[in-house]
């Protein structure tokens, strides 16, 4: 009795979170849906077709968005892996302070940070450029990378790396064949998170990019503001599908790499589990 009641409650709560997404699906293939009808009066692909027209602004901005987010992901991984290693493996003066600084962007409003650095970016010629947008996108995702890699390095330690070095591996070899495979699960989860957050960014892109860097969310906002539900839904749908594909891609790509190099990592994880 208690159990079936809790199951019903579980399903109701979950559905009320998931079902709203159907609105996107329906509006994106609707041409006419006047109030107060419950179902669309006329279906059509006009919205999606506008986005996928060859050479459309939407398509251009989608490519810009993906390019920016890929760079943000790679650069953030490149700086937070060594950062996480330092915080996970070493004890050093000033560690507590640095820990606070690297996690602070999670708490301090991006609105405050963006407006504060805006003037400096203007003077350095970084506003209205993709480089500037990439730089500002990196800030809010640093805490995620640092947190994940600090935890991973705390967990795996560096005995394996040391062994590799004793056996004569250079730093680069050690990194490619030992460090990378052992932290791969962290790279997958941090990479996905960073990509999604950067891909969704609106305010910072629009403040620093100044309208010359047109990302996908930037083009979507006017449709949401004007209440053009067909176009807003089409943009939303494309956004979600691309994000899902990107996540799947990151996971597949890295897993493939991981399985190829699983020799050493496999040894490690079985050793660690007992």
């Amino acid at each position: 009795m208690e159990r079936s009641l809790s199951r019903i409650l579980l399903i109701i709560l979950s559905l009320s979170l998931i079902l709203p997404l159907l609105m996107i699906l329906m509006w994106s293939v609707t041409v006419s849906w006047p109030f107060p009808e419950i179902f669309p009066r006329e279906l059509g692909l006009r919205g999606l077709r506008t986005i996928f027209q060859p050479g459309s602004r939407a398509l251009d901005s989608l490519i810009t968005s993906i390019r920016i987010s890929v760079f943000v992901t790679i650069l953030t991984l490149a700086i937070t892996i060594p950062g996480g290693k330092a915080l996970g493996l070493y004890e050093f003066p000033g560690k507590g302070f640095i820990k606070i600084i690297v996690l602070a962007p999670l708490i301090v409003s991006p609105v405050a940070i963006g407006m504060g650095i805006h003037g400096t970016f203007i003077r350095l010629g970084l506003t209205n450029t993709e480089l500037g947008v990439i730089l500002i996108h990196i800030v809010p995702v640093i805490p995620y990378g640092i947190r994940i890699f600090t935890n991973i390095f705390e967990l795996v330690g560096d005995q394996l790396e040391e062994q590799g070095k004793v056996l004569g591996a250079g730093s680069f070899q050690t990194f490619m064949h030992i460090t990378l495979p052992t932290i791969m699960p962290g790279i997958i989860s941090a990479g996905s998170m960073i990509f999604i957050i950067s891909f969704s960014q609106y305010f910072l892109t629009f403040l620093i990019g100044g309208g010359s860097v047109q990302t996908f969310p930037l083009l979507m906002v006017p449709y949401i503001q004007s209440g053009d539900r067909m176009m807003a839904a089409s943009y939303s749908l494309v956004f979600i599908v691309v994000a899902l594909l990107a996540l799947l891609g990151i996971e597949k790509m890295l897993r493939l790499y991981y399985s190829k190099n699983s020799g050493i990592a496999g040894v490690f994880y079985t050793k660690n589990s007992d």
């Binding site: 159990r3 996107i24 109030f35 939303s236």
Partner: protein
């Protein structure tokens, strides 16, 4: 486990790249904001350091109602998200099956950007939205005007709904992982000793998941308190949420208005920092209390 290594130079080299970016963009941005909020802005000929801008900002009616509005909306939405998220996690962990499909679907709102969440709430709850249409179908209302204005309303209901929709799955996922890692033996033992479902929830699940609920709560609260997108798209003209207000002030063509925007930003940042401090304080107390028992 292994010992943390002591090395004089290596960790600093490892941290150099990430700290350079943070110091350049984050710390410098924050520092410049503080200086400008105090009226020091050589670029536009302001040199006198003063607290006047803060004083004026605090005295203006728009700021105060905006601050209260932002605090209220973030608090209500985060509390609702936490209650639903924890309930969902508890309900799921009590099932015999683990409903993998449902779990995967519940992750969807996490990857949906806040802009799209705002749009979703609009299509559902506006006066010509899906809920209003269902109201007409069921004969509860006659036309769209009869449906209460939940979007762009002065209570911020639309904003709250959007944050709840985005925040709930986030809390659910984190708490569910914690609950799942709790030893089943403990639950079984409690049950054998006669504990009911609610006892298990209040005496085992809740205390063990409280630290992660609390830290997720702070992150979500700080996020909704400091972000621009949702109140910009779903908020009323008065009062305006603090981030929206600060941006409007910032884009004022009169450059001598900049310090006001920066003062608002500092209040925004200051309140978030106080929250983190509060979090550490409560957390220490809590751990101390638990050890004491």
């Amino acid at each position: 486990m292994f010992q943390l290594k002591k090395s004089s130079i290596k960790p600093y080299i490892y941290l150099l790249p990430v700290m350079s970016i943070l110091i350049f963009v984050f710390t410098l941005g924050l520092g410049i904001s503080i200086l400008q909020s105090l009226g020091y802005h050589p670029g536009i000929g302001l040199y006198e350091v003063t607290l006047d801008y803060y004083r004026e900002v605090f005295q203006s009616a728009g700021f105060f109602s905006g601050l209260i509005f932002s605090l209220r909306v973030s608090m209500i939405s985060t509390v609702i998200a936490a209650v639903i998220g924890v309930s969902l996690a508890y309900l799921l962990v009590m099932q015999k099956k683990d409903y993998r499909g449902l779990q995967a679907l519940l992750k969807l709102p996490i990857i949906v950007p806040h802009l799209v969440a705002a749009f979703l709430i609009f299509t559902l709850f506006s006066q010509s939205g899906m809920i209003a249409r269902l109201g007409v179908l069921l004969g509860i209302i006659e036309e769209s005007r009869d449906f209460p204005a939940l979007i762009f309303d002065s209570q911020g209901i639309g904003i709250i709904l959007a944050y709840v929709w985005k925040g709930t799955p986030f809390i659910f996922l984190i708490v569910y992982q914690v609950l799942r890692s709790i030893e089943q033996d403990m639950v079984e033992a409690a049950r054998n000793l006669g504990a009911r479902g609610s006892d298990v929830f209040f005496w085992i699940f809740l205390p063990l998941s409280l630290p992660s609920v609390f830290s997720t709560f702070i992150i979500l609260f700080a996020f909704s308190f400091g972000s621009y997108e949702i109140p910009f798209l779903l908020g009323p003209t008065t009062p305006r949420a603090l981030p929206v207000l600060a941006y409007i002030e910032y884009t004022n063509p009169d450059w001598t208005n900049r310090p006001y925007a920066m003062a608002m930003n500092m209040v925004l940042a200051g309140i978030s920092v106080m929250l983190v401090w509060l979090y550490h304080w409560v957390f220490k107390r809590y751990q101390h209390h638990r050890k004491g028992r």
